[in-house]
């Protein structure tokens, strides 16, 4: 895993940027009728839908070895950058809180193969101030890791991990049906053991930092 090098995904990144650029235009194009009469919170649907993209950074490492005599040490792997996709679907509890399921998908190409990570989390998003767009987000679930890197072996290996996500951001036009949010999030994937061609690596933890933007539909 340590031999893996970064390879940005220009298509995904440009797609993300395009999305970020297009969303305000789309939102703006529909802003007039809402500006005239924004729906009251009680009239809004209970749907909470978020779709967007982010620039993400991944680093995995192992720590806290259970067996101090283990011959295998993994140390710290390099930071790997890539684009990622994010989607939420859920329920608007009230005007300051949404709950639902979140999908975070990040593919990474390396010199020795590629890695795909998918986090599926139950999340809650909370806006402390109803009149402001600032929000906090947290949740937990499962991460699905698919490795095709040489260090793992000749074929892909699929693993599941405990996933935890925390984040914060700002949602523009939170009371409208269509809005935009920018966010920063950190996902952690506690993988456990990774079986490699050189033997198992114990207590592997993946950290994923992401900064991006998304469309919000309510």
């Amino acid at each position: 895993m340590e031999r893996v090098v970064n390879r940005p995904r220009p298509a995904l990144l440009s797609g993300t940027l395009l999305l970020v650029w297009l969303v305000p235009a789309a939102a703006g194009a529909q802003s007039e009728p809402h500006a005239a009469a924004p729906p009251a919170p009680s009239e809004m649907s209970k749907l909470w839908l978020v779709v967007g993209g982010a620039s993400a950074t991944l680093r995995s490492e192992c720590n806290a070895p259970a067996n101090p005599d283990s011959p295998h040490t993994c140390g710290q792997s390099p930071y790997r950058h890539s684009g990622s996709l994010i989607a939420d679907i859920g329920y608007r509890v009230h005007d300051r809180m949404d709950v639902g399921a979140e999908l975070f998908w990040m593919p990474t190409n390396t010199s020795s193969g590629h890695i795909r990570v998918t986090h599926v989390d139950a999340v809650a998003q909370f806006r402390p101030w109803a009149s402001q767009g600032f929000f906090l987000k947290g949740g937990a679930g499962l991460a699905f890791l698919r490795n095709w890197v040489d260090a793992v072996g000749p074929s892909s290996i699929d693993q599941k991990a405990l996933s935890v996500v925390v984040g914060a951001g700002w949602v523009f036009r939170p009371a409208d049906r269509l809005g935009l949010e920018i966010f920063g999030m950190q996902h952690a994937g506690a993988i456990g053991d990774v079986q490699t061609s050189e033997g198992p690596i114990e207590n592997v933890m993946g950290n994923f930092w992401s900064v991006g933007a998304a469309v919000v539909i309510r």
Partner: protein
């Protein structure tokens, strides 16, 4: 009488938190238990008997609360006795007061981890989350107790349960990244946030039991001080804002439908892995508190009903803490059945395993034959464990080591755990159930089963399956006094993911004789 029960019982609970936070996990404690909710049969039946009558009151109370809790009142108070709502103050208190006190405590103790600088902050942020190597009690009691302070920074400033849980997560995150030189710990984040919400709401409501908002003068002051001992953040805010001397009604949300407790005092005899039972008796004190009526009515107010079990002795100073808080309740079958979603906090130390967890359960309860004086009360539950901890038993050992190695003198410094950690972390699942034969408010015969699975992600790689069963027979002697005997059996099944796929089993019997004293 209710306040007397509350004061007595909950002062002990408060003390237990403080004691537990400092408990070293080296001693090998004792004894399995069955479900907390299941193990309060007298309380359960009392609640059933009063169910329909209380339900009407409950619904009226909830409607009042919904009206009262509008956040947009000009006064920022949801009700006259409620604290003024301030999100910013809650976040600031969690960040600077709670974290500041923890940092000061570390500095006074000479902890190396307290030497924080912007460089350590940046290093922590670059590193991301890791598993930490702290002691079992620190992670499973200490961090949830710290989370209770973050959580109650929110509650003290008028935030709801779920909003305060977000404050606990925020406070934990700031502490992990900026409060210590240690890397941010994922297990601390989960234990502090979820454990903090469970303990925090329990302590917050306990504080409101003790607080006498109609009193004045010295009596009022002492009630506020007593409540502050249980819930320091709410007490601090009330003294600072002057609410500690204002005469008001208590917020309706914090007046329980009922309050009951059972004290059990006796002796137990523990077995070992060969089924032999030791001749030496171990004294124990077990306490159950049932706040509110968990078994009837429709509820969407978290912790409107909750149950707490604490056990001292029986082979360890502090051997068990359990909190079960109802997040929602929905009756079915004409009030004979109840569906609940429950948040669970667990800390257990017994001969078979040391276990701690943050979990959520779905539970169904049902009564049969309640038209007669004798009836059957049964329940089943199952759920997910977000993160659990169980002591490691390396595959080449047959018994748990009784002594841990002292830290080396040339270690990285005080406050930095060197490992290896002697317990495993991972997610899992749980299931269980109970059947009780009741006569009026008393349990004549009760059987409880509790099973837990844990998949280790950090530590010795294994699947752990922990089970326990308990059969109780109790007889009333005079009024609130009763006598009982119990036979218990618990086992640990660990399947290691080593090349040989080693499986090890441990099983322990236990017997106890006890007197009970019921209070309500």
């Amino acid at each position: 009488m209710r306040r007397v029960v509350g004061v007595t019982f909950l002062a002990v609970i408060g003390g237990a938190g403080a004691v537990g936070a400092q408990t070293a996990p080296a001693a090998v404690p004792d004894a399995p238990r069955s479900s907390l909710l299941a193990e309060a049969p007298d309380l359960v039946s009392a609640a059933v008997a009063a169910g329909l009558r209380q339900d009407a009151v409950c619904r009226g109370k909830q409607q009042d609360q919904q009206t009262d809790q509008s956040p947009d009142r000009p006064s920022r108070r949801a009700c006259d006795g409620c604290p003024p709502r301030s999100v910013g103050k809650a976040l600031l208190e969690a960040t600077f007061i709670v974290n500041g006190m923890a940092e000061a405590a570390n500095l006074i103790r000479g902890q190396v981890t307290s030497h924080i600088t912007p460089k350590t902050w940046w290093a922590n942020m670059k590193q991301g989350w890791v598993w930490d190597l702290d002691e079992f009690a620190v992670n499973q009691i200490g961090h949830p107790y710290q989370g209770n302070a973050y959580f109650n920074s929110g509650r003290a400033n008028g935030l709801s349960f779920y909003e305060s849980a977000a404050v606990a997560a925020f406070g934990s995150g700031t502490w992990e990244y900026f409060g210590e030189t240690n890397y941010a710990s994922l297990n601390d984040l989960i234990n502090t946030t979820l454990g903090g919400a469970a303990l925090g709401e329990m302590f917050h409501r306990a504080g409101w039991l003790v607080r006498n908002t109609h009193a004045t003068g010295g009596r009022r002051r002492w009630s506020e001080i007593g409540a502050t001992a249980l819930d320091p953040m709410t007490g601090l805010n009330r003294f600072l804002t002057g609410d500690a001397s204002r005469v008001t009604d208590k917020p309706a949300d914090f007046v329980p439908m009922s309050l009951n407790g059972i004290f059990s005092v006796g002796a137990l005899w523990r077995g070992d892995n060969t089924h032999a039972v030791k001749s030496a008796a171990e004294p124990f004190l077990e306490m159950d508190l049932l706040y509110g009526d968990a078994w009837t009515g429709r509820s969407r107010t978290p912790y409107e009903a909750f149950a707490v079990r604490l056990m001292f002795g029986g082979g360890a100073g502090f051997s068990e803490a359990r909190v079960r808080g109802r997040l929602l309740g929905q009756p079915f079958g004409g009030e004979r059945g109840q569906f609940l979603v429950v948040q669970a906090y667990d800390y257990q130390a017994n001969d078979a395993y040391h276990y701690g967890a943050q979990a959520f359960n779905a539970q169904v309860a049902w009564t049969a034959g309640r038209t007669s004086g004798t009836y059957v009360w049964l329940s089943g539950w199952g759920g997910l464990t977000v993160l659990g901890a169980v002591d490691s038993l390396p595959v080449d050992l047959n018994t748990r080591p009784t002594e841990t190695e002292p830290p080396s003198s040339d270690g990285p410094g005080q406050g930095i755990a060197e490992g290896p950690r002697d317990y495993d972390y991972g997610p899992g699942a749980s299931l269980g159930g109970f059947v009780n034969l009741m006569h009026g408010p008393r349990t004549l015969l009760g059987f409880t089963y509790d099973g837990r699975h844990l998949y280790s992600l950090s530590g010795v790689r294994a699947n752990h399956f922990l089970q326990r069963a308990r059969l109780d027979l109790s007889v009333p002697i005079h009024r609130k006094l009763g006598i009982g005997v119990a036979s218990e059996y618990f086992s640990r099944w660990t399947a290691y993911q080593d090349p040989n796929h080693t499986v090890k089993r441990y099983h322990y019997p236990q017997f106890r004789v006890y007197f009970t004293w019921s209070v309500s």
